[in-house]
């Protein structure tokens, strides 16, 4: 049986994988006035969860299930038209790899690090790390689903001085949707790379490029 505590270690916001430096598109959305309050944050997070959240969760679930990480990384590239987001995903993948190899050393992580010296897409690394920790596809998908919304929520607290209680309430309201997304992601991952979802969000892709061009910004993406 998978260790529930290992899941908490991997999902912990304090897991040293660099995620705190990224807003998941929230910084650009706050500046454009698309997130002004808790309800705007909720709509943003719900949309992100059902699009890139589902897609990334399925990639992680696939890696945790044992699908070929190289094929998953190519699938991730095809699902990430924004070069700024591809670069962010690989940078986060590199940081996740460093933390995961120290935490759960194993040959599969070593092999992935060797195959992708500049970093594989973060969800792929997370999935392999979950596997190394004895976790399954649902666990990996839950991790990704949660970080898909917790990143923007935490960032919005800093960017808007939003009440942290309200931000946490948003996350709690999204919990049933996160469960559904994680289940759907794991189900797809068990059917192989060709069955992976590709849900995408036009504004996230467009504004990631805008955000990358800002001279001064609080978050890396």
């Amino acid at each position: 049986m998978a260790s529930r505590a290992a899941l908490l270690v991997l999902a912990d916001g304090r897991f040293p994988a660099g995620g705190h430096a990224h807003s998941g598109g929230a910084e650009a959305a706050v500046k454009a006035g698309r997130i002004k309050d808790a309800s705007g944050l909720e709509a943003f997070c719900r949309g992100r969860l059902h699009t890139t959240g589902l897609t990334s969760a399925a990639l992680a679930a696939g890696a945790a299930h044992g699908l070929d990480p190289g094929e998953l990384d190519a699938a991730a590239d095809a699902r990430t038209p924004s070069p700024a987001l591809r670069a962010a995903a690989r940078k986060l993948g590199r940081q996740m790899m460093r933390a995961a190899r120290a935490t759960w050393p194993c040959a599969e992580l070593d092999a992935l690090a060797t195959a992708f010296p500049r970093g594989a897409h973060q969800p792929v690394v997370l999935g392999v790390a979950a596997r190394a920790a004895g976790l399954g596809p649902e666990d990996a998908a839950h991790c990704v689903a949660y970080e898909t919304v917790s990143g923007p929520a935490t960032a919005t607290v800093r960017l808007l001085s939003l009440d942290p209680f309200q931000a946490t309430a948003v996350l709690a309201r999204l919990a049933p949707a996160m469960d559904l997304v994680a289940e759907e992601a794991a189900r797809a991952a068990r059917q192989g790379v060709d069955a992976l979802p590709a849900a995408s969000a036009p504004l996230l892709d467009i504004t990631a490029e805008q955000h990358a061009s800002w001279p001064v910004r609080l978050f890396a993406s």
Binding site: A29, A32, I35, G47, A78, L203, I206
Partner: protein
């Protein structure tokens, strides 16, 4: 609108000599060879009926064989309409582009009418030296109207490897948040223009913003994608036309 749901598959194949060995209309999908534009053999999809309605299963198969230059456009926007069937309508597009062939796939918009439910799936297989220009535009509702449910998936493989895979889902049957600040932010029109050209391998496109809600981005392979969201169909078309003239001088 009082008809049973239908199945129809139209087929196009173009040869390097400019011929169309296959040009098969079916049901509401009427194909016409139209006046050529430049070096391209041109085929126009003429919507002979309002389609697709709920329950319909339409498909178009298009092949630009090795060395061919094919332009496919349409005479009018595709209106997704509610049908008598509770089933969603399906519209499948299957495209193959051979070695040294060029396909320009430039249909008019898909308009998701209130109460409709359409699943569109486009699968493109490109040979290594193939070039492609492909435009898709999704308009949510006619003027001032709430949209139906529209799901579109675009999967492009080049030499058997994934190049682009994107699914968009909007409207009352889509998962929540599609109208929020991450996906459409209240806009009612969106579009994508994909240009695949092996020449981009040497000289990749630089990422570029086209105004506040549109961007041109280089993909991980030799291709560029323009993505736009806008209040209406006209504004999306203007943005994609700008990208088209920049990215696809061929």
């Amino acid at each position: 609108m009082d008809r049973v749901s239908l199945r129809a598959t139209a087929r196009i194949a173009a040869d390097a000599d400019g011929g169309l060995p296959l040009l098969v209309s079916d049901g509401p999908l009427a194909l016409r060879r139209t006046r050529a534009s430049g070096p391209y053999t041109r085929v126009t999809v003429v919507g002979a009926m309002s389609a697709p309605l709920g329950g319909d299963r339409l498909a178009v198969e298009a092949e630009a064989r090795d060395g061919a230059g094919l332009l496919v456009d349409s005479a009018a926007a595709t209106l997704a309409l509610p049908g008598r069937s509770a089933e969603p309508a399906a519209y499948d597009v299957r495209i193959t582009v051979g070695e040294d062939a060029v396909l320009r796939w430039l249909p008019e918009q898909v308009v998701s009418v209130h109460g409709s439910h359409l699943l569109m799936r486009t699968v493109v297989e490109l040979a290594t030296t193939a070039r492609l220009v492909l435009r898709e535009e999704q308009i949510l509702g006619r003027h001032g109207e709430a949209p139906g449910t529209l799901v579109t998936r675009l999967t492009v493989r080049r030499a058997g490897r994934p190049l682009l895979d994107q699914e968009l889902a909007f409207g009352p049957g889509a998962p929540g948040g599609w109208d929020g600040g991450a996906v459409l932010g209240g806009h009612r029109a969106t579009g994508q223009l994909l240009v695949v050209d092996p020449a981009f391998a040497e000289k990749p496109v630089r990422p570029r913003l086209l105004g506040e809600h549109a961007a041109v981005t280089p993909l991980a392979g030799p291709a560029a994608l323009a993505t736009a969201v806008a209040p209406d169909a006209l504004a999306v078309r203007r943005l994609l036309d700008t990208a088209l003239s920049e990215l696809a001088p061929f």
